[in-house]
Symmetry: C2
DNA sequence: GCTATAGATGTAATAATATAACATTTGCAA
DNA sequence: TTGCAAATGTTATATTATTACATCTATAGC
């Protein structure tokens, strides 16, 4: 279930007026816990980059992160950001959206997984699915073809329900 | 059926020793026909870029195309290549592989469609599927979520059957 | 507490990918 | 044959990402 009490599968997009502070805090807490469990160092930089990514549900670009980071950390340079992103992606704390060259917080950071993404062209928000039916059909097709499947990139563009409604 | 007489769905990867000249020629001919039908200009530049992309089943990067184009066309510059790519993608004659920043010839250029891609990390080749089951499950999930689906990016990385066999 | 070390960060430069803006040329329709 | 729209040429720049090496910092073993 999501923060607003509705079913995840049916409402992957965050509610327009959801408590985003709580949303971000929860994600951060899960990452803190995962790092403790795995013996990883969530340094101030890494943590700050993660917070900035979680500032919204819109995928963030590396250089936008860099600009924001520089306001509070003059030494920030491209490698600063890319290293933090690399760490966060490797650990499954964020995902990279290939078709946008952008990054978004993972909604289930505690266990590694491969999600699928719905990306609204209208509001820019992205929602993560972990849909077993999609995963299963991809696995099945790959297997039929003798293809040893490793990474699945599934990025679906369109218009989210909220924007669709708003547009009438 | 493919050029080697086997079922497409079961063998999307080209045979190692397939007649690639014939493979490329067929694709070119289909594009020529589609352009004639749609009243589009397949200029020498566009045609040449398409030929270069079809020189293998490995997705090609824009600047690799540029390097090759320059050998025979001194005036070639980034916009030369990107414009040709834009035309070819818009018309569905090639596809962009988002996770590689690279381009590959479309195996069914006559009708617009959205494929799915299997990309072998070992040999680099990519194969296109037009799998109705994958398309259907994505459509169904999007609909359940009230998401107005537009573009589907499905890129599956792993190891193709040939490389899997070769690796023992 | 020291100190060696691995991991993290700083710093400068550059590589790789892509687009903007405007000039010129070309194909084709009126 | 000429005028326009589309295509290409040309220069510059924007955006995204990595390399290479220097320095700092946390911490494990002494």
């Amino acid at each position: 279930m999501t923060h607003d009490g509705r079913n995840d599968v049916l409402r992957p997009f965050p509610d327009q007026r959801h408590d985003h502070d709580a949303c971000r805090s929860e994600a951060l807490a899960q990452v803190v816990a995962a790092c403790a469990e795995r013996g990883l160092r969530l340094t101030p930089l890494r943590r700050r980059v993660l917070e900035l990514i979680w500032s919204s549900h819109t995928p963030v670009k590396a250089y936008d992160l860099l600009d924001r980071l520089r306001r509070e950390h003059a030494a920030a340079a491209p490698p600063t950001v890319y290293r933090a992103l690399e760490f966060l992606v490797e650990q499954g704390f964020i995902h990279r959206i290939e078709s946008l060259n952008a990054y978004i917080g993972c909604s289930e950071p505690e266990q590694a997984h491969q999600g699928q993404f719905l990306i609204c062209d209208s509001c820019g928000d992205a929602a993560e699915l972990s849909d077993p039916d999609i995963a299963a059909v991809l696995r099945r097709k790959a297997e039929m073809l003798g293809f040893q499947l490793d990474v699945c990139t599934v990025e679906l563009k369109g218009r989210c329900a909220r924007c669709e409604t708003a547009a009438g």
